[in-house]
Symmetry: C2
Subunit: 113 residues, 2 copies
């Protein structure tokens, strides 16, 4: 991952509403959350929510899948893993003292209650 790309991801998360959305989706796991439910939870008007969801989608941190009239959004764990890997790499002259992330790969194993 290049610095420019990483900066884009960080900037995307560097906004209270978007970080709130992302964390909500991370906590939700593979079930994801319907857009309108996110809006209610965070108290965001529809166009504002849509704007931020589009931003997060564009950089690849979340993904939306249509379900009849609704759109279910999911966190893209892989992107986040890459970002954390980038942030923790090259620490201490390549000795990599920040932990390499193996991250949410086990999330697939969770039940989809």
């Amino acid at each position: 991952m290049e610095t420019l790309n990483a900066a884009e991801l960080l900037a995307a998360l560097g906004h209270e509403s978007r970080l709130g959305i992302f964390r909500l989706l991370v906590e939700a796991g593979p079930e994801g959350i319907i857009a309108s439910a996110i809006g209610e939870k965070l108290g965001l008007p529809a166009p504002t929510l849509s704007f931020h969801l589009a931003h997060l989608s564009r950089v690849g941190l979340i993904r939306g899948q249509k379900e009849s009239r609704f759109i279910r959004y999911l966190a893209e764990y892989a992107t986040m893993e890459d970002l954390i890997a980038f942030l923790t790499s090259n620490c201490c002259q390549g000795r990599a003292c920040l932990p390499k992330t193996s991250a949410c790969s086990n999330i697939e194993k969770r039940s989809t209650t």
Copy 2:
């Protein structure tokens, strides 16, 4: 760490120049880098550099210490650790499947060559 604070840190890193500065300092370790050297390396005019250094300092990601005429900047690893801990927490309904970071605590042990 609250969401607002985390968003501030992420926004600070969400800019190519500032991310470049921060990574330079993370790689440099406890020796840090003199401000002007950072500017040369990244090709930033003095006021622009100063602006970004001030931003990173304000949110606590770096710290500058005066040395005669120079200012040596250092990465604040603890802040970064907190941020990564925040990002990897509450994943998968509190099951914490992203690794908790123990991070660059070993950096203190490095020689200051």
